[in-house]
Symmetry: C2
DNA sequence: AGACACCTTGGAGCAACTCCAGGGTCAAGC
DNA sequence: GCTTGACCCTGGAGTTGCTCCAAGGTGTCT
């Protein structure tokens, strides 16, 4: 099959396939008389493997390592589990960081309801002071209890 | 102060400061006789604002918008709350995606304990089949109940 | 013969920096 | 006066994983 069909079956673009070839993740396929790349089922399986790894947000470097093991680079698969454990660790870290970030953003969001003159906006003040850290503290201008209206002067 | 001191106070590198200047987020400062950039407290405040936003993982585009509002681009701060709400939405999406990813990775991880010959590694098989989707299903080679040993032949 | 879909290569662009080369500036010490 | 060393300048390349583009070739259909 040609590159377009391969890409479609793998759920990616032809550019991406050529990119993986350039990066050495896919072996260069044979060519037709007209210089078109010609792929077989083996190429598709390898590309599917790569795309599955990418769907799990592995880097191309990590995928390269896995392919190396697959291609016979190790006696057992201890490298695979180690890589996966490290990857899971990275994902956990990112989740933890995003959760903390989310808290900060929520704290900041409480500081204004959006109908305040710019100079009084608690969000902009919070960002000027130190992000979300001081959000729950003082300086709150909006949303006293009920979450309805700001203490706004101008009509 | 010169760029190094400014950068240190803001917790970033001098390259980053020059980058923000090129991107139009920081106004070009005055220069000394020797052509060094010279900054004042206003520059520091603006840079701190930018770095606070970046710590909350806002894009430079979002920050540009916020600075525009701050610089007098709007009568009220509704743009600020809208931007923040959208940003929080993005963060929530990323958290949800990462949590799902984490599940998939954990399912995949269960399929091998790492001392299996490469050809039998359930993780590599799972990645060849379809990532983590089929992980909890059949084809499991390792960690039957106790989580101790694989069904391994070779010593 | 022309239209159209598909393919080729090489190169640029994205985000937000980071690093480097090759050179200039400035204060301190000898 | 000279050197040393820290700091600064500009311009450009590298990072990741694609994605898009231009300019041109191939293959099929009508």
């Amino acid at each position: 099959m040609r590159i377009g069909e391969l890409a479609k079956k793998a759920g990616c673009g032809a550019d991406t396939v050529r990119y993986y070839e350039r990066e050495g993740l896919l072996p260069p396929p044979g060519r037709s008389e007209g210089n078109y790349r010609l792929y077989d089922a083996g190429h598709l399986a390898r590309l599917a493997f790569i795309r599955n790894c990418r769907a799990l947000e592995m880097s191309l470097g990590e995928i390269r390592t896995l392919l190396g093991v697959k291609d016979g680079g190790g006696a057992d698969c201890s490298g695979v589990t180690a890589l996966l454990d490290a990857h899971i660790g990275h994902v956990d870290e990112r989740i933890a960081r995003l959760a903390a970030l989310r808290e900060q953003l929520a704290g900041l969001r409480e500081r204004c309801c959006g109908v305040t003159p710019v100079a009084d906006c608690g969000i902009l003040q919070g960002l000027a002071e130190g992000g979300g850290e001081a959000a729950a503290g003082g300086g709150r201008k909006c949303l006293g209890d009920a979450g309805s209206l700001c203490g706004r002067e101008a009509g």
